[in-house]
């Protein structure tokens, strides 16, 4: 049963309503192997080729915890300022679903790995909004279902489904936020900055399209100051945009219901990006009863202070600290430091360029400007960019030394992307290179002043604009390669002298 509703056109929540949003984020850890068995966690392999008797739930098989997964989960808990639980255990969450091989998911319940953390989210207007982190816990992923026989590939209308267990057993960390988020924009900022944080921690591919970062939201609306309204769980938002649009649509739906005197029913809500609509999926079955109990096949995990301290010490520099350092060390403005500090790969790239080119501000401008534009246009990852940090810094050196003008440098950069050749080779092959040779230019300037006595006289009479005429002539003769600053200087000296 589904009840479609129109997506809201306006993103903002009206003043006389308040939305209360909490997010549940699932992060696939990029360990080599699964949570409880030695199968690889690789993505995109042929179905049921990354499986063994343990992750297929064969009778008599027993799980053993992946040490690296615990370490990664601890990293996440610490980076979110959680308290790491000294004595933590796994529970079984019991339910039947064809992608769940054992009839239960090994997860955590009342003793999660981390509790009571927060993330300071920088909003669009620069304000800091603190979002509480209720818990960080470890669990295993389910397999994947492909719905067949229907028109849409969706579960509705399919007459059977195919199950692939490659993903089953992949280590997951679930991060649950407090209901501290008030708008879809805030939710998007939270998720973006959480993704950046996870990237810096190097624990996950954090790719929403591939499902290594997944986000569900608990949403309710109320009049400001009133008690919490009935919440719904919004699922299937596999991009930042869908998260925002899904929340907007669901908030709109709930406000609409309440304003017309109807109640919001507790339900799971699905966002369909193609129609921009949300539909409630009312289950025909009884409410879930997961019958949690401690997993008898696994033993408790006790993370002592020394372990936690060691993991804390191994944490890489995180976005907030990196931003501060970029401001202090390179003198970057807050905005630039924020952009470069939040993106791990881009920040690394910037540091290499700045170091080699010897001009941090110039490096920041180029990395955030032409280089980022190239990445966005092509979808190439920083690490795979056609122009590496050494190549870019070589180009910037030519620019700084005056061999190239800004305009020329941009052209050379485009050539470097296309051909993969170093800047110096492109400059030579194209006969580029700014003429900064004072003697050569001086000859030309003298000749032009003598050949144009009329305009020269006008300039001496105070008509500054005539200088532009002479600059144009010089550029024409040099095919635009003269150093403009130098040309200006020489022209003034010879016209007035």
């Amino acid at each position: 049963m589904s009840t479609p509703s129109d997506e809201s056109a306006a993103g903002a929540v009206p003043n006389d309503w308040e939305a209360v949003i909490g997010l549940e984020i699932h992060v696939q850890l990029h360990t080599k192997t699964k949570m409880f068995c030695g199968c690889p966690t690789s993505f995109g392999e042929a179905p049921n080729t990354q499986v063994c008797p343990i992750c297929l739930g064969h009778p008599g098989t027993l799980p053993v915890t992946n040490e690296r997964a615990v370490e990664y989960a601890t990293r996440i808990a610490l980076a979110l300022d959680c308290r790491v639980t000294a004595h933590t255990i796994f529970h079984r969450k019991n339910y039947f679903y064809p992608d769940l091989p054992k009839g239960y998911q090994i997860s955590q319940y009342d003793l999660p790995l981390g509790v009571g953390g927060h993330l300071n989210v920088e909003l669009e207007n620069g304000a800091i909004h603190r979002v509480g982190i209720t818990r960080v816990h470890m669990e295993e992923d389910a397999g994947k279902l492909v719905h067949a026989g229907g028109a849409s590939g969706r579960i509705e209308g399919a007459d059977h489904s195919l199950v692939d267990f490659n993903r089953g057993g992949t280590p997951l960390v679930e991060i649950v936020s407090e209901p501290d988020i008030r708008t879809p924009d805030q939710a998007r900022s939270f998720l973006t900055q959480l993704k950046n944080l996870l990237e810096h921690l190097d624990v996950s591919d954090v790719n929403m399209e591939e499902g290594s970062l997944r986000c569900d939201a608990n949403v309710s609306v109320r009049r400001p100051g009133e008690p919490l309204g009935t919440k719904t769980e919004l699922k299937n938002m596999n991009s930042f945009r869908f998260l925002q649009r899904g929340l907007e649509a669901e908030i709109e739906r709930q406000m609409g219901a309440l304003e017309s005197g109807r109640a919001v029913e507790q339900a799971t809500v699905h966002f369909d990006p193609s129609s921009g609509r949300v539909s409630t999926l009312r289950s025909k079955e009884e409410a879930h009863d997961y019958r949690y109990f401690p997993e008898p096949d696994l033993v408790p995990i006790q993370l002592d202070e020394a372990y936690v301290a060691a993991v804390r010490a191994s944490l890489p520099e995180l976005p907030a600290a990196r931003k501060e350092r970029f401001m202090a060390e390179y003198g970057l403005p807050a905005y630039d430091a924020g952009v470069l500090g939040s993106n791990r790969a881009l920040g690394d790239y910037f540091e290499q360029v700045a170091g080699a080119a010897g001009d941090a501000k110039l490096a920041a401008n180029w990395v955030m400007g032409d280089f980022s534009a190239y990445l966005n246009a092509t979808g190439v990852e920083v690490e795979a960019a056609a122009v590496g940090p050494a190549a870019l810094s070589d180009l910037l050196i030519l620019l700084r030394e005056g061999t190239l003008s800004s305009k020329m440098a941009k052209d050379v950069f485009q050539d470097m992307i296309e051909t993969g050749k170093p800047a110096s080779v492109v400059v030579r092959e194209r006969g580029l290179g700014q003429i900064s040779d004072t003697l050569a230019l001086e000859e030309l300037v003298k000749r032009l002043v003598l050949a144009n006595p009329g305009p020269a006289e006008e300039f001496r009479g105070g008509r500054e604009k005539v200088l532009g005429f002479f600059v144009g002539q010089v550029m024409k003769e040099t095919r635009g390669q003269a150093n403009p600053q130098l040309v200006n200087e020489l022209l003034r000296r010879h016209l007035l002298g």
Binding site: C39, P47, L56, E67, F96, A158, L162
Partner: protein, 93 residues
């Protein structure tokens, strides 16, 4: 005493179905067994921690090192219905 409705609810949770006449009998059997196990209430258990394992082990881990997977034909060999290397299940929605 457990009601027939409770038995039906539990059966559904466990994905079991019984013959119509069996529910009443099960309600009686389960009630008797549950009455018996509830005699634990006679013990003074205050201050005792629950025991999940007879021997108190902790921190048992494996290194993050890949091990061979099953060849696909073996992985799906026992599947009651298999199509293109995947397990087939009837309509879910």
């Amino acid at each position: 005493m457990i009601s027939r409705e409770e038995v039906e609810h539990i059966a559904r949770l466990a994905r079991l179905r019984f013959e119509d006449g069996e529910y009443e009998r099960l309600a009686q059997e389960l009630s008797k067994i549950l009455d018996y196990v509830q005699t634990l209430g006679e013990l003074d258990l205050t201050g005792l921690e629950p025991t999940a394992h007879a021997v108190a082990l902790k921190n048992v881990f494996r290194a993050d090192e890949p091990r061979p997977c099953l060849p696909r034909e073996q992985a799906v060999a026992n599947g009651p219905a298999v199509e293109r290397g995947q397990f087939v299940v009837p309509r879910i929605g």
